[in-house]
Amino acid sequence: MRLALQDLCLRHPVLRGHPTDLAKCGGLALQRSGHASPVVAGVDHDGVTATAEIEWLSQAVSVLEVLDSNRVTEDGAEAVAIAYANSKAGWVVKRRLQRGEFADWLLRSETGWLALEVSGTISGEPLARLEQEKRQVARCTLPAGRLAIVVAFDRPLIVAGGP
């Protein structure tokens, strides 16, 4: 599986013109953890393991001095997660959801809808975080599939699962 962050807006047109450049944050978050494009990330989706090659346009890490570190992590995780959801099953972003819906994004494909909850960590145990995110998205009442994804940038590792 290839996750090309620089193609994010091509695959998800709704992200065009977004003031937060998610793909750039994804690259910055990966470079901050010492990675260079392309990097092979581990994938654990409901216990099924695989790998994904993440690639991005190299970023000037000096901007990290003026960006909120947590936002880079969260926005970077969204870039990787949305790219993963698209590569895995063709999900395309429809829109962002308000917090009261208990998911970050609503995505669609030819087969239906998906409520996606995303989180990122610089380091730490992503599986414990995934359990939290799965509990959160389980509260989403929309008639849609539900998926939680956590991106751990240090390894890097993508962990995903449904409630």
Partner: protein, 147 residues
């Protein structure tokens, strides 16, 4: 909605706009910025516009309708939220799950206000906040009666 907001956007354009606006409003909320209320009003306008062009029975339409009510509440415009909720709940095809989500939004708003104004909540006077807000919105001065 006023004439100044009557530019015709497509659903895809509104999806992009509301996504940007939600992100901004939530960030402003997180840092407790006074600009958050205005940002939520913008979200409300986009959600309301989406609700106008999407059927209530479809997932996008249901999300927009609940989103408009939630954004109005987050903007502190409870009367607007009541007006929108009344309109959307009158739409027969709106799914029960979305109806429950609208009710939940009001309950969460009441809980939030009760946490912020415990004395008013204890004395059953939370409804007075709506009257005060209505007066304040008509009189932007700090002391309207003394003006």
């Amino acid at each position: 909605m006023t004439e100044t907001h009557s530019i015709a956007f497509s659903e895809d354009e509104l999806d992009a706009l509301v996504s940007i606006a939600i992100r901004r409003a939530e960030i402003l909320d997180d840092i407790q910025s006074p600009a958050a209320s205005e940002a939520w009003q913008e979200v409300m306008l986009y959600e309301e516009r989406l609700a106008m062009i999407t059927p209530p029975a479809e997932i996008a339409g249901g999300v927009a309708r609940v989103g408009a009510v939630r954004a109005a509440l987050a903007a502190g415009r409870r009367m607007e939220a009541v007006r929108l909720a009344s309109r959307y709940l009158a739409e027969e095809p709106l799914p029960p799950e979305r109806r429950a989500a609208i009710e939940r939004a009001f309950q969460e708003d009441r809980d939030r206000l009760a946490g912020r104004f415990p004395a008013l909540a204890r004395s059953g006077r939370l409804a007075e906040l709506d009257e005060w807000r209505a007066i304040a919105s008509r009189n932007p001065r700090v002391f309207p009666l003394a003006a």
